[in-house]
């Protein structure tokens, strides 16, 4: 993550940015449940844009509306200047979609999955055959080309799903929790692949409840909770605006965490008590730790770390992102 945080997109704005996605007061209700509650955002071409929020925040519903497979209740939405409800097939011709749950075609072999998916976009075999091989290489699945899908590991399936989403050379890639359920190594491989796409100018729209993922991949993100936008900005700007530079994490044991708050009063800028730990927001974690010791308090463990988006979310909603 680069250190300069001056928001380069702000400077570009007067030069009429080409928004590939524009949402205004986008709302979706299921009966009495409001899944998405009047959110607005715009995404310029080439940006990597994140929707960060806990489960049930309305991220996937927003993704489905962008893909034109879910009808909005009210508000406006345009993708490449088109309304996905009126022009579903045409809008999706521009998109690559990586859904939350893999829906690979288990009746087809790995490479055939790519070919058949390309046919759904109306692409000719003469283009698809070399393209499929290229994408298999990108997904590091070349030696699995003739395997059955159910013989692949979770990480491989995910990479195949991403490769599949690229078959039509989409301008916009929708990724709904792309690394949920993957082990750390598989996640890092995936991040690397996504980063390469970003370098090639693909617009990435990404939902996640992983802070590190958002910090790694997103130029800009919105923090969503209960269908509303809580904050918007680059990861660095959000941390700067909603948190302190450092965080001191203290664990006093589950019995004492709750009652220790009063004794820590005045240390750092802000105090957050969670069931398993106490967080002290401060510009200098080490100094705060010394002050804690100076008051004669002996935490079981202590940790000084940089502020993350997790802290931003906690500050905005009072809750952790991943329980």
């Amino acid at each position: 993550m680069p250190a300069h945080e001056t928001g380069p997109e702000k400077h570009k704005a007067p030069a009429a940015p080409q928004y590939v996605i524009t949402a205004e007061n986008l709302t979706k209700t299921y009966g009495d449940v409001i899944a998405v509650d009047g959110i607005s955002f715009s995404v310029p071409a080439g940006e990597s844009f994140g929707l960060l929020g806990p489960n049930g925040a309305g991220k996937s519903t927003t993704m489905k509306m962008i893909g034109g497979v879910s009808q909005r209740t009210s508000g406006n939405l345009t993708i490449m200047g088109l309304d996905p409800e009126q022009n579903g097939p045409e809008v999706r011709a521009h998109l690559g979609v990586v859904p939350q749950q893999d829906n690979l075609d288990e009746e087809l072999k790995v490479r055939d999955n790519l070919l058949v998916y390309g046919r759904y976009f109306g692409l000719p075999m003469s283009y698809l055959k070399p393209k499929a091989d290229e994408l298999l290489e990108f997904a590091q699945l070349t030696d699995k080309a003739k395997s059955k899908v159910d013989a692949l590991s979770g990480g491989m399936k995910r990479r195949l799903t991403i490769a599949r989403s690229l078959i039509n050379e989409p301008r916009i890639l929708l990724l709904d929790e792309p690394t949920t359920g993957l082990d750390p190594q598989a996640r890092h491989i995936l991040w690397d692949r996504l980063f390469r796409l970003k370098e090639q100018g693909v617009t990435l729209i990404l939902t996640t409840h992983y802070m590190d993922e958002a910090e790694q991949l997103c130029d800009r993100l919105i923090v969503v909770d209960k269908g509303r936008i809580m904050a918007e900005g680059s990861p660095a700007a959000l941390i700067r605006d909603y948190s302190t530079r450092e965080v001191l994490e203290l664990r006093f044991g589950s019995e004492r965490n709750a009652s220790i708050g009063a004794e820590l009063e005045g240390i750092g800028e802000r105090l957050e008590t969670l069931p398993d730990r106490v967080l002290i927001y401060t510009h200098d974690g080490e100094a705060a730790l010394e002050e804690v010791s100076g008051r004669g308090l002996r935490p079981l463990t202590s940790l000084v770390r940089r502020s993350s988006l997790e802290d931003v979310f906690l500050r905005l909603t009072g809750r952790s992102l991943v329980d």
């Binding site: 009808q71 097939p89 075609d105 072999k109 759904y120 039509n168 050379e169 796409l197 090639q200």
Partner: protein, 277 residues
């Protein structure tokens, strides 16, 4: 690393096709997928669907036929019992093939394989998916009908060249059942509900004048049977097999044409509300 996401003119061409709101004129991609999947895994199931009516024809036609002897055909002429039930079994086989493809297969793809969800995240529309799946069911119906007609020929049960018209007529019957079957399946959520399909199909198979004439029933049962689609299929094929055409032939064909139109409306409407919530 090569450039992955730009540079091919064909992808722009594919994006700049003419699209409808629910249809992208690309049902052939859905058909292509079905054929590829069949090639790699499903062909045994297909074979069993072909043999079922053949076994019925042999056991009932040859076995029961020896007891029953000759019966009166559609034009009043004497025909063998096997020749009497063969067109009915062909209608049943067209129905079974179409219903199996459009109910169980579609149910599985919809609820377990999530195949349609994947398709509808591409530039395919629900109408492409519906047309593609129905045409697949029809291809299967065509295959069964051709095979069964060949068996009839081998058993000496074909006496007029008109009988070859049974093949397209079987496809018409399959179309009626497939277009409705897919729409009905879209309402099903559990395996128990899917069993209702068998609960309707089996009595229809047994009682639609398949093995004996309609005249054995009291009049009100006759009306009920005549309201059912399979009876029209049985009668249509039986008339064709004997080249004995009457004004009723047109009614049978018309019944299926109406069934096809209503079924397609139901199916596309349901797919739209299921996948474009």
């Amino acid at each position: 690393m090569t450039v992955l996401t730009q540079g091919h003119a064909v992808t722009d061409e594919a994006r700049n096709r003419r699209f409808g709101p629910l249809y992208s004129r690309n049902a052939r991609a859905v058909i292509g997928r079905g054929l590829m999947a069949t090639k790699s895994s499903n062909w045994m199931v297909m074979l069993s669907g072909f043999f079922e009516p053949v076994l019925f024809l042999i056991s009932m036609g040859v076995g029961m036929g020896a007891v029953v002897g000759n019966v009166s055909g559609p034009g009043g002429q004497e025909i063998s019992y096997a020749a009497y039930i063969a067109p009915a079994l062909l209608a049943v086989s067209a129905m079974n093939g179409a219903v199996y493809d459009s109910t169980w297969n579609v149910f599985f793809k919809m609820n377990f394989a999530k195949l349609y969800q994947g398709m509808l995240y591409t530039s395919l529309g629900p109408v492409d998916v519906a047309i593609g799946e129905i045409i697949l069911a029809l291809l299967r119906g065509l295959l069964y009908a051709t095979g069964f007609t060949a068996v009839m020929g081998l058993m000496g049960l074909i006496t007029t060249p008109w009988a070859l018209l049974m093949i397209p007529a079987s496809v018409l019957i399959a179309f009626g059942f497939a277009s409705f079957g897919m729409g009905i399946t879209s309402f099903m959520k559990t395996f128990q509900q899917m069993d209702w399909v068998n609960f309707i199909m089996l009595p229809m198979f047994l009682f639609s004048a398949t093995f004996y004439p309609l005249s054995v029933y009291p009049e009100y049962i006759q009306w009920l049977i005549q309201a059912m689609p399979l009876w029209h299929g049985v009668e249509l094929l039986r008339q064709i097999s004997a080249a004995s055409f009457t004004p009723a032939t047109a009614i049978h064909v018309g019944y299926y044409l109406v069934m096809i139109v209503l079924g397609l409306m139901l199916t596309t409407g349901r797919l739209r509300s299921l996948f474009l919530k």
